[in-house]
Symmetry: D2
Subunit: 339 residues, 4 copies
Amino acid sequence: MNVGVLGLGYWGPNLIRNFLGHPEIEKVIGCDKKEDRRNFIKSRFPSVELTDNASELMEGDCDIIAIATPVNTHYDFAKDALEAGKHIWVEKPFTSNSAQAEELIDIAQKKNLKIFVDHTFIYTGAVRKIKELIDKGELGDIIYFDSVRINLGLFQNDVNVIWDLAPHDLSIMNYILPGKIAKSVDADGIANFYNKENIAHISVHFEDNCFAHFHVNWTSPVKIRKMIVGGTKKMLVYDDMENFEKIKVYDSGIEMKARENIHEALAQYRIGDMYSPKITQTEALNLAVNEFIESINEDRMPLTSGKDGLDVVRILEATDKSINKGKQIQIGSTVVIGE
Amino acid sequence: MNVGVLGLGYWGPNLIRNFLGHPEIEKVIGCDKKEDRRNFIKSRFPSVELTDNASELMEGDCDIIAIATPVNTHYDFAKDALEAGKHIWVEKPFTSNSAQAEELIDIAQKKNLKIFVDHTFIYTGAVRKIKELIDKGELGDIIYFDSVRINLGLFQNDVNVIWDLAPHDLSIMNYILPGKIAKSVDADGIANFYNKENIAHISVHFEDNCFAHFHVNWTSPVKIRKMIVGGTKKMLVYDDMENFEKIKVYDSGIEMKARENIHEALAQYRIGDMYSPKITQTEALNLAVNEFIESINEDRMPLTSGKDGLDVVRILEATDKSINKGKQIQIGSTVVIGE
Amino acid sequence: MNVGVLGLGYWGPNLIRNFLGHPEIEKVIGCDKKEDRRNFIKSRFPSVELTDNASELMEGDCDIIAIATPVNTHYDFAKDALEAGKHIWVEKPFTSNSAQAEELIDIAQKKNLKIFVDHTFIYTGAVRKIKELIDKGELGDIIYFDSVRINLGLFQNDVNVIWDLAPHDLSIMNYILPGKIAKSVDADGIANFYNKENIAHISVHFEDNCFAHFHVNWTSPVKIRKMIVGGTKKMLVYDDMENFEKIKVYDSGIEMKARENIHEALAQYRIGDMYSPKITQTEALNLAVNEFIESINEDRMPLTSGKDGLDVVRILEATDKSINKGKQIQIGSTVVIGE
Amino acid sequence: MNVGVLGLGYWGPNLIRNFLGHPEIEKVIGCDKKEDRRNFIKSRFPSVELTDNASELMEGDCDIIAIATPVNTHYDFAKDALEAGKHIWVEKPFTSNSAQAEELIDIAQKKNLKIFVDHTFIYTGAVRKIKELIDKGELGDIIYFDSVRINLGLFQNDVNVIWDLAPHDLSIMNYILPGKIAKSVDADGIANFYNKENIAHISVHFEDNCFAHFHVNWTSPVKIRKMIVGGTKKMLVYDDMENFEKIKVYDSGIEMKARENIHEALAQYRIGDMYSPKITQTEALNLAVNEFIESINEDRMPLTSGKDGLDVVRILEATDKSINKGKQIQIGSTVVIGE
């Protein structure tokens, strides 16, 4: 198979390196209007063909087009690529709105092409381990999901901090909590420097009383990437800044006790052992590329398909509305995660 | 002076120990209906007189009544004490609603009695150091305040997690950001075990575009007590779980750059040195008792007065409304913090 | 029983508080030549009788004399107390040299009196948990023990940093590795401020090829109290500065592989899960007092007896010799730990 | 210039990448007897010429030979390269003994060729910052240097853990403490798996009473890379496992107080602020390559020359003797670091 990589900025070189490393990829073509980015790729990956012309790339002999350009260009490039009969790989967030995502899914379905949305974290050893623990019932029912992803980050000027950072965490939530029905979204934020929020907080309420919260921030002096998953049996902390013990599972929790008098607690806590499972170290992007190519070969939906991209975009859209109106936005039962 | 301590539960013994240690306090009387609590105090502090009768305590020769009972009893006990001509010390949160707080402030003013609200954190070395740094302009203008206070905590059955934990953080915010005008409150939460929220998130918007957020949680497997204060010059992290370096000041921040093209950031970050100032170790409650007695002697408002208690209660009230209605609640300009 | 506490400095008040709390103790008498220390105890523990006369204390009606004075006075006070027919509690290190320790053990044996050496750490939840894990074979055979205890500490002027800090770690080593035979000691150190070492490193070689190392330092800017126990099956880290996860057990280790060629490793590592067992929170000194009184009642050796104190003193003596001579000191088979 | 890289194992590819990135390097030739290593380089760096014949490489048109083979082959390859008129880059430790190092230095001097010993850590932002702080007197006189470098590491079968890991720390010590005279070395260790030590402790005493200690361990369940540098004014901690705050400078220390009585300390501690300077992020190996090529162009000694390699080897040799004899080894005034 041949792959065209569109956009050679921050993430493009990683895509190239991983596609080059896959045994079924014969040729990689890179495309960017900027000469310095093409020269950078030339020096690092001499075997990659280069062009500054996206239309040419679309019309060429690529089987796959990987789109790593700014969000607001995803839809047009993706549509062109699908129309040209290519499978597509799209960076997160999938599209600028859910209508675009739905249309692309529709086109792909009709032409039997695959859409892969690069929710990279789904392919990390840590997130796969969390999924495994939840699936086998280790944590019990999940009652809450709390995520913090903050650092001193480069401002994007086409999207706010929610569209930039939250797709990582929303895609993880959707992956580990399939079948849950997101009911409403409440978002708050502040734009200190120009008209895009640089700090934001997002709450998601689920039909079964589960609750999720996301804190994203481009203006934090410290880098924190931490999630807490609260279950009825055990609770889990995933700290992505830890080098070694990224996941800790706490055999601790809340137990209900009979009410005695007004000063007594109704619920009391239990503290037990903690353990930290070993995490596989394989590069996530490598597994992602494998999954995409396998899904094409096996003619099946990839693990992170257009539908998963759409689920994330729907919540992102709802955060925009919620911030504008200052209230909770009902999402409706259409967002059954992962279905 | 003589002090009556009403309520000998978790916090009462600490009040007794600190009042006993003050040179101007001659006698301490403890009061609790529960015999085991009185016996506990007897064994630990043999010099303390004990009674099970609150009315007797009110009518006795105490100059000060310290109220360390459940929140919903604060107003009645406080009113009785003020009517009996006593200065009062009230645990946080001051009252169950703002009307009660206003009435107590009014009574105290008319009778020239002092109300001290025990916002203990204001008296810690760490918070006083933060105040000092902000006051001398070290951080520049404050653009955001982010607080996390979560652990596996004992459930209260008379209040939710916001009324239990957030007063600490709200009082710190009000103390270090005086004069700012809180405009609206948006709160979200979930009650997993009975009808009181055990997890909650609160956003506060200010008139000058400053933003504050509070995460409180009784059901976290890990204990986190961390605040970030973002300023235009520097940013500060206060981690109360650190034994030694509780405060770190980052000479890092955001700088606006001219816009070049659509892929370029409008704002870029700057990373500089960090420093951690030495913190005074004196027990906060000891300083709080000193401040209260000094304010009585000098016939002036204590640092944490009824007005400060009221400011916190107003925001707590707004969180209740916001959770009920699922939207932001305007507070109105009445809440000029600390004035 | 009545207890006399000799020396009301840093540790004396803790002894008083814990003896007072024991149900079988009727009376506690405190003794110190310094008036301000006696006054301090009077204000904190009004029920304690006080004297400035050690001889009087020895001749009085105490059943137990607890000695919390400088090390170089332990032997004289301990001998007087034993001669007067009292059971003794002695702070660590037991004595200034092994001859003194042997003599005291001899006297106690002849008069059927108990010697309790206050190796407090043996009674902490963490050390008891480590002992339990090793005893049940969880770690396999122990191949090394590495301890670091450093901070910015108050200099003692009667002993060097080894005699001040290492007894904690040596007593822990002896407790968790009973039956091992210490073969030689090699110590190194430096005295930067006056003629007592403020930094020291101690190596202990065992007959079975087990190896222990101790780093003690009064002049470290950071406080570290960390031990690693390496076993053939698992390895354990005990970090006493951690608030919650003090002990971590690593299912990691070294596995021998067949030699392939000169560039290949002979041994390779295996990385598995980690777990952190729950630790009991009871105050160590409380359990120590219980153990001492129980050993008297049951007429048996306490868990930390004169023999355990002697084992530690023998190694301390060897460190002095090793530093003086700049070489390893053979200890001889007399030091079979704990026997 | 052309460069031949001998040994394409773990470190070789990094050398190739950095030499390739230098503007003055025209050609890089890689040499390894193993076909799979040559193939690996071919796939990663297609422009690199490859050979399995070291003699051919030596006789070719390279200006520089970089030697990244096992330690016991360094001397032969280095001598051949110098004899063939090449400048040499040698991985640490420089040679297997000091006689070899002296001979190579001698040959290079006679032929006016440069020897660069790859003490990579010297080129890290962190170590250069420490050097800068010490040079400008920020820490005062250095009284001790304490280093811990432990992890679950691959066993080497040609050298013990000291020769494998300690060169990093010894070279850092020598770099930041130039002019100090190392007087004696005392080393202790244990070989648990075969006849090479896997755990070791090394003490170095200096003529001016400065003291250094090194703990190296291949069998630790946790990875620690931490140094403490104690000065008379300030103290510094360098934690290489920290992602962000690698260096912390403590304005804390020891102050001598007049002696009052036997219980009083002679020295007391002072605790002040801490700060963490910003560290430059440039890749160390990149700076190392620049320094080597610049030293050739300017016909001067590189920052890490054969003499620096020899200083490290002399201490390594002394550790072997000390472990064998169980005593301190005098080094003599020949080891004036860096001169």
